[in-house]
């Protein structure tokens, strides 16, 4: 039987079936065995219970996205499973595993032509006191994927640290399932894992990665109001901040959280808040204040489907407009976007560095896919950024908080420093910080604030630029994973094309972009929203030689590599 480099497995079932637990264990087991992987959770609208599915992709090399098709869907039951038909694409080469006790698979599933194999999950679990069907399914899926049974056991031991009868029952149930796998018919296993030390890998979600990156960047104060899908970021940060001597405050709303972070940052403590689109909208006024008063702050927007409450648990990249254009007045600020789960570490660390160094607000656009996916990744290189907030020294008689400087950055006096006290003000001001409605002061301060961002050296982090050729794909955020995979497929077919995945959305980097696209005649802009927001942003901010074409579609379904590959394949034709 053939082997494969990656395998996509879905496990579905109703509330109480424990499909998420099993999915997480599958990912852990793969990590134990030296594989990489990604897990995405999906569920019905019920607050608790209802139908749910764990979507797991295991691979020999790091993966940032889901695949076009699932190789196997195992269902503990068929309740309402049709809702996942679009989210768990299956084909004739797919395998559907179901419990005969639950009846036949629903017609919606049968229509895809997948092969069906039955596995009496419930009956097998019953044979073991304390055994659960989800553990049988876990064993079966691990067996199909070709994970060593020991790795699955180790994952169980790692998770059920109390051990005892519960662990023993889970291991036995898992083993039963594992033994059944070969009986489910032909199924390509994973190729052996690449080398590399397991100790050099991490298993984390993008929300956790963002929180970690923020703390490594120096954030010691967070105020926030809970909102899906940013909540996990906050929940990870609360205890983590306490450990490193920082603090997290749950604010009464987003108006409070952004203003609290501004207060803390004014006090000299690097500060962050995290939210999603509705919360970002509420923060917009205070972001204007951060620009005017030059107070560093990082706002993470873990984007979800909008507008309004939209589809709160699903992914979309539709907040680019508000993040780049949503401030009142002429308000130059930073907008960044991580492009993979692990990249959240670097991008947040960089965002904190930039906000602090440039004394400007930085909006970081993550999204639900990145935020809530859990991935096995290579431990990221420890990139420290030199610089930080320029502080005023005590008793400087000539001190002016908003002094016009060549770089546009002027030292910030931190409360407690004698002799340089000033008032941070959202009113337009002169160099001293005194309110002024004089035209020259307004112009000078506008110029100063714009210059800070124009003169800053963003180095190589502004984008991931890969490949060569006359064709290119420009993308950002969680679309980067599927674009990369699509480009790899196209390259394997002989197409020469580049990738530009923007990490720095604003300020625009026209010179760097011109270099990255030098010689490119045609570029595809890939993004996940209905309005082609990135395409329009590029048209407004850049003068590009290449003809731009657009691939955009909204959420809630994540973009898959095949969708982009199809477009690229057409480009390949003469």
């Amino acid at each position: 039987m053939q082997q494969r480099d990656s395998v996509s497995l879905a496990l579905a079932g109703s509330g109480g079936a424990g499909v998420m637990t099993a999915g997480n264990l599958l990912l852990e087991a793969a990590a134990q065995a030296g594989y990489y992987g990604l897990m995405v959770r999906t569920s019905g609208p019920q607050i608790r219970g209802g139908e749910a599915a764990a979507l797991v992709r295991l691979a020999c090399a790091p993966v940032d996205n889901l695949d076009d098709r699932f190789a196997c869907l195992a269902a503990v039951d068929w309740q309402n499973i049709a809702r996942f038909a679009a989210e768990i694409p299956l084909g004739p080469e797919s395998l559907v595993v179901g419990d005969p006790a639950q009846g036949d698979p629903p017609p919606a599933l049968a229509a895809c032509g997948a092969r069906y194999a039955s596995l009496p999950l419930k009956a097998l679990a019953k044979g073991i006191p304390g055994g659960w069907p989800n553990m049988v399914a876990l064993g079966a899926l691990a067996g199909l994927a070709g994970l060593p049974e020991d790795a699955v056991r180790a994952a169980l031991e790692g998770t059920m640290k109390k051990g005892g009868a519960a662990l023993a029952a889970s291991v036995s149930a898992m083993r039963l399932g594992y033994a059944e796998a070969p009986k489910l018919g032909p199924f390509a296993r994973l190729a052996p894992p690449q080398g590399g030390r397991r100790g050099d890998r991490w298993l984390l979600s993008g929300d956790e990665a963002a929180g970690y990156g923020a703390i490594r960047g120096g954030v010691r104060f967070v105020a926030a109001y809970p909102i899906t899908p940013a909540t996990e970021l906050l929940e990870w940060m609360a205890p983590a901040l306490a450990k490193v001597g920082g603090a997290l405050v749950q604010a009464e709303d987003e108006l409070a959280s952004i203003n609290m972070t501004l207060g803390a940052s004014f006090g000299g403590v690097p500060a962050l808040t995290a939210t999603s689109g509705p919360g970002l909208s509420l923060m917009s006024e205070a972001l204007g204040l951060a620009v005017a008063a030059e107070i560093p702050v990082v706002v993470v927007d873990v984007m979800r489907v909008g507008p309004s409450t939209g589809i709160a648990t699903k992914t979309e990249q539709a907040d680019l407009n508000i993040a780049t254009r949503g401030l009142h007045g002429d308000a130059p600020h930073l907008v960044l976007a991580p492009n993979s789960v692990v990249d959240c570490v670097r991008t947040l660390r960089w965002a904190v560095h930039l906000a602090e160094t440039l004394q400007a607000p930085a909006v970081v656009l993550a999204d639900q896919f990145l935020g809530q996916s859990r991935a096995v990744v290579d431990r990221p290189a420890d990139v420290a950024f030199a610089g930080g907030r320029k502080r005023a020294s005590a008793d400087d008689a000539a001190y002016q908080r908003y002094a016009i400087t060549e770089s546009g950055v002027s030292p910030m006096a931190i409360p407690g420093t004698p002799g340089v006290a000033y008032t941070a003000d959202g009113l337009e001001h002169n160099e001293r910080g005194t309110p002024s409605s004089q035209a020259p002061d307004h112009l000078a301060q506008l110029d100063k604030r714009a210059r800070k961002l124009e003169r800053a050296d963003f180095g190589e982090h502004w984008a991931d630029v890969e490949g060569e050729g006359e064709l290119a794909v420009i993308t950002w955020g969680s679309c980067t994973g599927p674009v990369r995979e699509a480009l790899a497929r196209a390259r394997a077919e002989g197409l020469r094309a580049r990738l530009v995945s923007l990490r720095l959305i604003a300020p625009a980097q026209p010179e760097r972009m011109a270099r990255a696209l030098d010689g490119v005649r045609r570029a595809l802009v890939v993004e996940q929203n209905h309005g082609a927001q990135l395409l329009k942003y590029l048209r407004a901010e850049y003068t590009l030689e290449a003809d731009l074409e657009s691939f955009h579609r909204p959420g809630p379904l994540p973009i898959l590599p095949g969708e982009i590959h199809r477009t690229l394949a057409q480009w390949g034709r003469p």
Binding site: A264, S265, T423
Partner: protein, 277 residues
């Protein structure tokens, strides 16, 4: 709270060179002078105090002092001050603003600042009107007060900030009158010394849009009762109060807000153990 090293800390030390834009006669001038007197009486160095405000005539105060100032956006002074105080517990943080700023657009923050009980002092210059935007009714405006935006009055009953503060958990509640700057200074100093969230409602006339408030000087009187730490007694007192009793009306004993217990900080890099396989 650190004490000024220089011997000669006077109220004058807390004034900046910036000239107030307020109307002559406005109560806010006196409140500014009360704040500077209180800070001097507390023996603070200007750099160790921060004055945080929102938007409004009254919210212009920070730049008129020599302390660190934060003149933020309308209604959000309390959150900004909360963030500052939690991040920098060593600073003395005074929040100042108007009734519109604090009770209308910032009303939700008022409730939560009271219940959060962070060690802040909140001075509201209540003139029962939006001064800055030219005389619209505020939450404390009388229902029949005629204005362009609400001809014949709003018909809405007034918001009772002291009762709300008490019910929401403020730890110190006082009323002052701008026409008595020394008394106000004294109350502000007491409020700063009192742990937790201290709220001072200062009757501060708007001579431009509410000229009749010049008459407040004849209406106010010192509260005739002793300070209580009993919320039930304070509630009875405040509910029957006509709005002109001055002094400390409640001084509670709630422990102030504390951020998560601080251990010996761990290295940030060690947090990666959460993810390491």
């Amino acid at each position: 709270m650190s004490t000024a090293s220089a011997a000669a800390i006077t109220p004058q030390s807390f004034k900046s060179g910036v000239k107030p834009v307020w109307c002559p006669g406005c109560g806010d001038y006196s409140v500014l002078s009360s704040i500077t007197k209180a800070l001097a009486a507390l023996g603070l160095a200007p750099e160790n105090a921060a004055i945080v405000s929102g938007i409004g005539c009254s919210s212009r105060i920070p730049a008129y002092t020599s302390c660190y100032g934060f003149h933020g956006v309308h209604g959000r002074a309390l959150p900004a001050a909360t963030g500052l105080k939690i991040a920098r517990p060593d600073l003395t943080v005074i929040v100042a603003g108007g009734d519109g700023d604090g009770y209308s657009i910032g009303g939700n923050h008022f409730l939560h600042a009271c219940r959060r009980n962070v060690d802040l002092t909140y001075v509201v210059m209540d003139n029962h009107v939006y001064g800055m935007t030219k005389g619209q009714p505020s939450p404390t405006t009388e229902p029949d007060w005629d204005s362009k935006l609400a001809p014949g009055g709003t018909g809405l009953r007034e918001f009772h900030p002291l009762v709300i503060a008490l019910a929401s958990g403020a730890n110190f509640i006082a009323r002052a009158f701008s026409g008595d700057p020394n008394g106000t200074a004294d109350l502000i100093a007491q409020a700063v010394r009192h742990p937790g969230f201290s709220f001072i409602e200062v009757l501060s006339p708007c001579v431009t849009y509410r000229p009749e408030q010049r008459g407040w000087k004849d209406a106010v009187r010192p509260a005739s009762v002793a300070v209580t730490d009993d919320p039930a007694r304070a509630a009875r007192r405040l509910m029957t109060d006509d709005g002109f009793n001055l002094g400390v009306l409640y001084a509670g004993r709630r422990a102030p807000y504390r951020a998560a217990p601080q251990h010996e900080p761990q290295s940030p890099a060690s947090l990666e153990l959460d993810f390491a396989l």
